[in-house]
Subunit: 244 residues, 2 copies
């Protein structure tokens, strides 16, 4: 349901292991292009963001070096997992010593693509959309909120933080003008798919949805979902089990 693949190169590496020989015999011509698209396991990518947070916090505390043990503890994972994760982005530590906080921070950020320019548009200026627009946590890591849209005439035109709510009628134009390359959907279920489609048509390839509905997106579009109700239900399952 989500894999596709087209990288016909034997990038060579551990888990991500690229299909050894197999397919691809057809085209190519180059023996071994080194462009090799890394490929970090999804589970590791998610954790890299945690390490980043922990490293930022350490920087704030003036710490300059950290061991895998300590960083793992601060991130809530095992040290073995942490070392394995870091190995996917290369060897950036010193044996017998540990990791340089600042340097590692930059390495992870680079691996995640955070050095690029990310412009985020929020669709939906209801309670959640407004809260997101005002949330400072985005800006801090290079995500700039460039626009916020809504359909309600009473909300359009309002100021939220440094932004003015735009009419969703002008969604496509707005996305193009602001060069938004990510969209956050903060919408009720019944309009989410429609807005999602428009956003996709406008060429946006990265979408974060808070809508309580399963959205369909075409291949090549990256969709991540956050749903409070879902999280509570998962908690409920575990809590119930404690009681037996």
């Amino acid at each position: 349901m989500k894999k596709k693949e087209l990288s016909p190169l034997p990038t060579g590496g551990k888990p991500p292991v690229v299909v050894p020989s197999s397919a691809q015999g057809a085209l190519d011509g180059y023996p071994a292009a080194e462009q090799a698209v890394k490929q970090i396991p999804p589970a590791a990518v998610a954790r890299l963001t945690l390490y980043l947070r922990a490293l930022n916090s350490l920087t704030g505390d003036g710490v300059e070096r950290v061991s895998s043990e300590a960083l793992a503890e601060a991130s809530g994972v095992s040290s073995a997992t942490l070392r394995k994760d870091l190995s996917y982005i290369g060897s950036h530590g010193t044996r017998g010593v540990g990791y340089e906080v600042d340097y590692l921070n930059r390495q992870i950020a680079a691996a995640l693509g955070l050095t690029l320019d990310w412009k985020v548009a929020i669709v939906g200026a209801g309670n959640l959309g407004r809260a997101l627009a005002r949330y400072g946590g985005f800006q801090s890591r290079g995500f700039e909120i460039v626009a916020i849209f809504d359909a309600d005439p009473l909300i359009v035109g309002q100021e939220i933080g440094f932004l003015r709510v735009s009419d969703v009628l002008g969604l496509e134009t707005g996305l193009a003008q602001t060069r938004a390359n990510m969209v956050v959907l903060a919408l009720p279920a019944h309009v989410a798919q429609e807005m999602c489609d428009r956003v996709v048509s406008a060429g946006v390839k990265s979408i974060l949805s808070f809508a309580p509905i399963t959205l369909q997106v075409p291949e090549g579009v990256n969709l991540r979902k956050v749903d409070m109700a879902t999280e509570l239900q998962i908690l409920a399952y575990h809590a119930q089990r404690l009681v037996d």
Copy 2:
């Protein structure tokens, strides 16, 4: 970091495998008590909530029966995965026919423990906390928001939806009085761990945190985390890879 274990049995078998005999040997008298604490794989639990959403939507459309293929499509997973997931909670379909929408809905809800009484308290009445308090998605699935706390004197006493913001000084008392058994933390990073500790001390075992920080909780406490910045960073990684 999260496993514990105490089952000294060679459980051997597929994922969920019910602990064969194990604990409780004390009572019963039957050779094979069927009470057997299920055990659904975490990945499957997360997806069961998606099926629930899809089933609700189908009910709304007046659909009474659904095939694994159709339900999987609506939920965004493969039909094999769906059938496997459902098999963890028992056989509730009819071969050659499909699943009864209403019946399956109830079976999943029961398996997730949604028939119990969940009372949720929100700690933090900032932008996000207020948005969550007003979000209708909770109530719909048996989660009742029973209190919301904040430390800011300007916010304490305000009305949000049907609730009045309580002073976080009275957190412990408030949790006890309202019999809250779940807590949502909607707090800035610098106070999140402290509040988390207080909530844990008060006996709450299920916590959903929106704070952009890794929280430490003792064994036996269930913590789930949602972080917008993390989600965007993961999107950034994938988006960057599309460019190569």
